[in-house]
């Protein structure tokens, strides 16, 4: 099965029912996307499919029709970080860090569709992403900061 992942077409030999998450992690070797719950309740596995934030633990390979973008592809070819990643660093968001790939992918999708989100917009877009370290106040600040960075770019 051919899946387009991070700009490359990858041949995945697996059961078509396998959730995308496990194909990414155990077959394609992309471990940046995390397993948290398996039932789309925590958002740790969030990737983009054609730009839409998607819980990769709950979509089967056979249902993946668009291009998959994972956290590994956010950096430019020259290694430059995405504005959201830069803001995450400047706000010192991550603690244990395990949920942050998913948080960042949700934030990237939010800012792509809404360049200057309000706090309520952030609540709507981000409340599916659980963080047990409680980094939410800094995530909120980092999203606002990333919005300013992207507007200035």
């Amino acid at each position: 099965m051919d899946i387009k992942i991070n700009g490359k077409t990858v041949a995945i030999e697996a059961d078509p029912e396998m959730p995308l998450l496990w194909a990414l992690r155990d077959i394609a070797g992309l471990t940046g996307t995390k397993f948290g719950c398996g039932i789309a309740m925590c958002g740790a596995c969030t990737v983009l499919i054609d730009g839409e934030p998607t819980r990769s633990c709950s979509i089967a390979l056979e249902d993946v029709s668009g291009e998959v973008t994972t956290v590994e592809a956010l950096q430019g070819d020259n290694g430059a970080l995405h504005a959201v990643q830069e803001a995450w660093i400047e706000q010192q968001v991550a603690q244990c860090g395990y949920c942050q790939s998913g948080q960042i992918m949700s934030a990237v999708a939010l800012l792509a569709s809404n360049p200057s989100p309000t706090d309520a917009d952030i609540d709507d877009a981000m409340s599916g992403n659980l963080c047990r370290c409680g980094t939410y106040p800094r995530i909120r600040a980092a999203i606002h900061m990333a919005a300013r960075k992207l507007a200035g770019a």
């Binding site: 155990d26 995450w88 660093i89 790939s101 609540d123 709507d124 047990r132």
Partner: protein, 753 residues
């Protein structure tokens, strides 16, 4: 410094692998330096905490688990400060399991004296606990103790390494060491204007005598410490590169999962694995006695096939339902006995004397799961009778001890590689997930196997925060000072944990983990009795963020609030009055009073009502006051704001400490709002975040933190933010609605927006 130098000495160095090895030892009995055996060519091991390469790159060894609390950065800063190198450029590695990395401060915190007690007896007992820690060589992360433990040790490691680099330069230049200085990775000779990089000097440092004492920098000259530092792990954590236990990848690695008896600890009496074994990609199904493992070529196949196995589970050895469990706790409470952890004056007599006037309350707290974001997992491999384990864990030395015991190995035949932890909160202090992986790997013919638990397996096989019941009684005298009697009954986290870990002994004295948060609080009351009653049940319980301080402060501080209201006192002013002998406590309470505008009227625009609640807790050496503000809305209670003032004694990284307080608050509020583990048919009912959720972005209040450092003694950071948050919320709900909720989670009686 005097105390440090008497305890600490450094002995002569020896050449290894073309470089330098210097022993750095506590007390007088040296532990071997675990790094000398595998130093890379051109890499010099200056002591168990510092390696320098010929190209001057510096690697600092981190002997504690990074589970989000920022320990990697602060431990590296302690070394970099004294070694005089650029913090942003240092590399860090997690330490192997080795005796030299034992945690002294964690055991000292276990001593049976409150943190505010600096008496000779208290200090002496803490010293003895430190010696116990050394004999156990317990390399563990817990009890908010890492920085307290590392503060002198890591700085001394940096200073000792710097001293031999200077000595090497002095030899090379035939100059007096005292005339030389260091400057950001170089030794310089200001008189003659010459310099040499650390990389140029490490080889020449071979054979250098390490001075018996080193002088640490005056804090006034600190370059990194006391100032917020960018976390060294941040870039890898925003790019997906940080390696957690589940991210370990090895050649020919297999993937597996386990399903253990949901009635914890009980046997599996039979198993039909025939359907699972037919699933393409399944390598084998293994009977583990109390459950089974499915090994496959990927994790999802293992999960799917595990569902197809039909096991028969034996009965639980503990009561089968939540009601029966709490009936057991209640029966222990009614039977009385236990131990008095605090008994000032005569509280029962004072309460009896004021017959009919007493304020009484009964509080309950549920069992709780840790629910780390990363489900339990570990990777293991057997080669030539030797075991290697890769896992995100809080206690590598316990994994070695336990593996040696379970598999009848020498400790030297067990190697533990520690990764980042996707949350710990006490859960990864346990060894179960690492040992299970080793048992599975026994059956995979030398191939490495990664064993990942489903979320459901994780939530149903935890070592829970124990449920507890507390009965509280008080009378208040004419001055508004209460006589207080508190009796709490629960299982013991430390007895349960130490019972599981072979080779560990219980700390001496009464069981603090049952009464912490009740007996050790800085209230000056003439009559104050706190009694703990251990409940003997087989439900595995353990260290949940703040341990006894996770639920007892809800009892203590809710009751203080009830006392204040019943006696017509402002709850915050009453605390200020009762805490007068403890200036650090007063300063924290005063700070949140100022920050929150306590006492000023709250508008109720657009909501039914608003209210503020206050609570205080001294835990893990850190003094913390919090005010929570809630609004009662048509959708339920909304937590709007939290103000927190915390005195850490010494605040090495204020921004990180702020983050830890926010984290602890959100962790506590999550539990207070809705978390509860219940039992049916001997099994935990909750399996995933749909039934056991935590606070989300849309519920997160604005949180303001003030970092204070006046208490005079360094406290911890990972846990102390949690304890006051639960009672401050309950007290705020009372202020807003008049509803006093005495059971957790609060959602049993109220809805949250």
């Amino acid at each position: 410094m005097g105390k440090l130098l008497r305890r600490t000495f450094l002995i002569g160095s020896a050449a290894v692998a073309g470089g330098v090895a210097v022993g750095f030892y506590m007390y007088q009995k040296p532990y071997p330096n675990p790094l000398t055996g595998d130093a890379a060519t051109g890499e010099s091991v200056l002591n168990p905490f510092v390696k320098i390469s010929a190209d001057s790159s510096v690697t600092i060894i981190v002997p504690r688990a990074e589970m989000g609390q920022g320990v990697v950065t602060t431990l590296a800063a302690l070394v970099a400060e004294e070694l005089d190198v650029e913090l942003a450029d240092v590399k860090t590695e997690f330490a192997p399991a080795a005796s030299v990395y034992y945690n002294r401060a964690m055991m000292e915190e276990g001593a049976p004296f409150p943190a505010f007690d600096n008496s000779f007896l208290a200090e002496m007992t803490r010293d003895i606990q430190g010696v116990v820690a050394k004999f156990l060589a317990l390399q563990a992360t817990g009890g908010s103790s890492s920085i307290i433990d590392a503060f002198d040790r890591m700085r001394t490691a940096g200073a000792a390494a710097r001293a031999i680099l200077i000595a090497a330069a002095a030899d090379k230049w035939q100059a007096a060491a005292a005339s030389l200085k260091t400057e950001n990775g170089k030794v310089v000779d200001p008189a003659l204007g010459r310099s040499a990089s650390y990389g140029e000097l490490v080889a020449a440092a071979a054979g250098q005598e390490v001075p018996e004492t080193v002088t640490l920098k005056d804090p006034a000259g600190w370059r990194y410490l006391g100032k917020s530092q960018p976390r060294l792990d941040m870039r890898d954590k925003v790019t997906g590169k940080a390696e957690f236990g589940v991210d370990v990848r090895l050649p020919d690695m297999l993937f597996a999962t386990v399903r253990m008896n949901p009635r914890q600890g009980a046997r599996m009496t039979a198993m039909d694995a025939s359907a699972a074994e037919k699933v393409p990609g399944v390598v084998k199904v293994i009977n583990l006695g109390t459950g089974y493992a499915v090994v496959a070529d990927n994790t999802w196949t293992a999960f799917k096939a595990a569902d197809l196995v039909t096991p028969e589970w034996d009965k639980a050895s503990y009561p089968e339902t939540t009601e029966a469990v709490f009936a057991e706790i209640d029966a222990a409470l009614k039977a009385g006995g236990g131990f008095n952890m605090r008994d000032d004056g005569d509280a029962p007599d004072a309460i009896a004397a004021a017959s009919g006037q007493a304020i009484s309350a009964r509080y309950t707290a549920p069992y709780l799961a840790h629910a780390t974001m990363e489900p339990m997992n570990a990777t293991a491999q057997w080669r030539d009778g030797k075991l290697t384990v890769w896992s995100g864990n809080q206690a590598p030395s316990s994994i070695v001890t336990q593996a040696a015991s379970v598999f009848d190995l020498w400790a030297s035949d067990v190697t533990v590689h520690s990764t980042y932890l996707g949350g710990g909160f006490g859960r990864r202090f346990e060894t179960d997930f690492s040992i299970l992986a080793a048992r599975v790997a026994k059956e995979t013919d030398g191939k490495p196997v990664q064993v990942t638990w489903t979320r459901e397996e994780d939530m149903r096989h935890d070592m829970y925060r124990p449920g507890a019941i507390c009965e509280a009684t008080a009378v208040v005298d004419g001055e508004g000072v209460p006589s207080v009697q508190l009796t709490t009954a629960s299982q013991s986290p430390i007895a349960s944990t130490f019972g599981r870990l072979a080779g560990m002994i219980n700390p001496p004295g009464n069981d603090r983990t049952i009464v912490d948060g009740l007996w050790d609080q800085p209230y000056a009351l003439a009559n104050y009795r706190v009694t703990g009653i251990p409940v003997d049940m087989d439900i595995p319980v353990g260290f949940w963020r703040a341990v006894g301080h996770s639920h007892n402060p809800f009892f203590h501080e809710s009751f203080m609030d009830e006392i204040a209201h019943a006696s017509g006192q402002d709850p915050l002013e009453m605390r200020l009055k009762l805490m007068q002998p403890y200036p650090a406590a007063v300063a924290c309470v005063q700070a949140v009073k100022d920050m929150s505008g306590w006492g000023t009227p709250l508008a109720a625009d657009g909501v039914k009502s608003r209210g503020r609640g206050v609570a205080f807790c001294l835990s893990f050496g850190t003094w913390v006051a919090q005010v929570v503000q809630v609004a009662d809305t048509d959708d339920g209670i909304r937590i709007e704001k939290v103000w927190c003032a915390a005195d850490f004694g010494t605040a090495l990284d204020p921004k990180n400490l702020e983050g830890q307080m926010m984290s602890g608050i959100i962790f506590g509020l999550s539990a207070a709002m809705g978390q509860e583990i219940t039992f049916a048919d001997g099994a935990v009912e909750q399996g995933n975040f749909d039934a056991y959720d935590a606070m989300r972005m849309n519920q997160t209040p604005d949180i303001q933190v003030r970092v204070l450092q006046a208490s005079g003694k360094m406290g911890g950071a990972g846990e102390p933010g949690t304890p006051p948050s639960l009672p401050a919320l309950a007290n705020a709900i009372f202020a807003a609605t008049g509803k006093r909720i005495r059971q957790l989670p609060l959602s049993k009686e109220i809805t949250f927006a």
